[in-house]
Amino acid sequence: MKPVRIYAIFLRQLYLIRSNFVRFFRLFIWITADILLWGFVSNYLNAAAGARFSFLAVFLGAMLLWSFLTQVMQGVTMAFFEDVYARNFLNIFGSPLLVSEYMVGFMLTSIMTSGFSLVVMLFLAGIFFGFSILAYGLSFIPFLMILFLSGIALGIVGVSIVLRFGPPAEWFVWPIPAILSPFVGVLYPLSVLPHWMQFIGRLLPPSYVFEGVRAIVAGGGFSSGAFVVGLFLSLFYIALAYGIFLLVYRKAVRTGLIARYSAETLT
């Protein structure tokens, strides 16, 4: 892998974000809505329940972490969609760029965009609701890493779906986090789910993050077991997602899909 090529992929996204306020707007509009909605819901529940339980830490904090994962995933998929929209596949894949360099470039892009979104979310949660993620202690940072890795894996799966089924499959990608959220127990413990949903939830790394964070809020301290399992699973899913992407890419090269992406009207 050549770092200069990875930098090129990252720089392209930076140029695009800088050049158009709409792309910049995307980085914080949804998360602002999420933070405000769940912040006020949490405030209302706090008022109704009295001081017995901090809904801010459980609901607002959890939604903040979930939004972070969504932003990481979208950081990868949106970077790829830019090449779909611009019909740039032939220029990209007809160059010396390696698939691995392309993907690492997307990951760097995602670090930039999701990092910015996270800062905005923390700022809004602090300003409007006096909530600080430090309420979880510094132990939330390892959990954040699991969410980042899970978001990257989901992003690569999203990219693979669009490469395999074409641009109309874009709509499959956007609801992926929403489809997963009931299973990973963002707002409730896995134990409230039916057994079959719990089983699926335990296969998904974010469930260990939310269980772990709830344990911290309940005063149980950092669960290294949840962290290790979550980290292992997220690394496994990244490897799996990359494997899926390589399979899809190779099929696209075999069938001529890459070449046709440039020649066809994609709208």
Binding site: K2, V4, R5, Y7, A8, L11, R12, Y15, L16, S19, N20, E82, D83, A86, R87, N88, F89, L90, N91, I92, F93, G94, S95, P96, L97, L98, R250, V253, R254, T255, G256, I258, A259, S262, A263
Partner: protein, 251 residues
């Protein structure tokens, strides 16, 4: 002594289901040589170029760029290759400079900023340096694609109808620049076009593809007479309409 070819294509094959797009094509391109790849629509020209670029996997055969097999060393082989195609314009949402800079990095061009200034001057793109490609005319966009194709001083340049959207004056300038580039340096050029006057002017050798096979090969200035045709355009029409009769002549 004959120079080693920059491109060697051997027994290349590609089918889409029952449709045979390329059927055992073999040819080479040497340094300083411009080879025209001609043929009617659907003859297999773009399919061949896509396989050389590594975006389409052949069913059989071998492609070597400067001795490097594209199936095994794709990235290395493409480092000193570049292309421009009328259907592969650069992203319209970035400026001319940004596009050239990104692709300069991807092709690991040394002293990339200076090289960009040179190609922008060459193709009269300096006034559009900070203009988004999407608002340029199609002719100007083609010039940006050609500038990108020259960025890495390629040893192999693939041009798929590069002048299709240019007016005759700009097309003539582009042809002159590409000819100078090929004949002055060490690059070989594979050029597809439907403009037979252009091909006669530019190409040192032509290959006529028909139904995925090379039907005829030779000097574009002498080949028509060999087949009792007035000029290359008449020969092209014959290839398109009656390839079998030409095949008989050839055999």
């Amino acid at each position: 002594m004959q120079k080693n070819p920059v491109l060697e294509v051997t027994d290349l094959k590609k089918s889409y289901g029952e449709t045979v797009a390329v059927n055992g094509v073999s040819f080479s391109v040497r340094p300083n040589e411009i080879v025209g790849l001609l043929g009617p629509n659907g003859a297999g020209k773009t399919t061949t170029i896509n396989m050389i670029l590594g975006v389409l996997r052949p069913d059989g055969g071998r492609i070597k760029i400067e001795g490097k097999d594209i199936a095994q060393k794709r990235s290395e082989a493409l480092e000193r290759t570049n292309f421009a195609a009328v259907y592969a314009q650069l992203p319209g949402n970035m400026t001319v400079f940004q596009n050239l800079y990104i692709f300069g990095l991807i092709y690991a061009v040394p002293d990339v900023r200076a090289r960009i200034e040179t190609v922008m001057r060459e193709f009269e793109l300096a006034p559009f340096r900070d203009v988004k490609c999407g608002v340029l005319s199609s002719g100007e966009q083609t010039k940006v694609s050609l500038a990108k194709a020259m960025l890495n001083n390629p040893r192999l340049l693939l041009l798929d109808e590069p002048t299709a959207s240019l007016d005759p004056s700009v097309a003539e300038i582009a042809r002159r620049k590409i000819k100078r580039f090929a004949h002055a340096g060490t690059a070989g050029v594979l050029w597809t076009s439907h403009n037979m006057h252009e091909v006669t002017d530019v190409c040192d050798r032509v290959l006529f593809l028909s139904r995925g096979k090379i039907l005829l090969e030779g000097d574009p200035r002498t080949l028509p007479r060999k087949h009792h045709k007035k000029d290359l355009e008449e020969l092209f029409i014959a290839v398109a309409r009656e390839p079998l009769s030409l095949e008989t002549v050839r055999s």
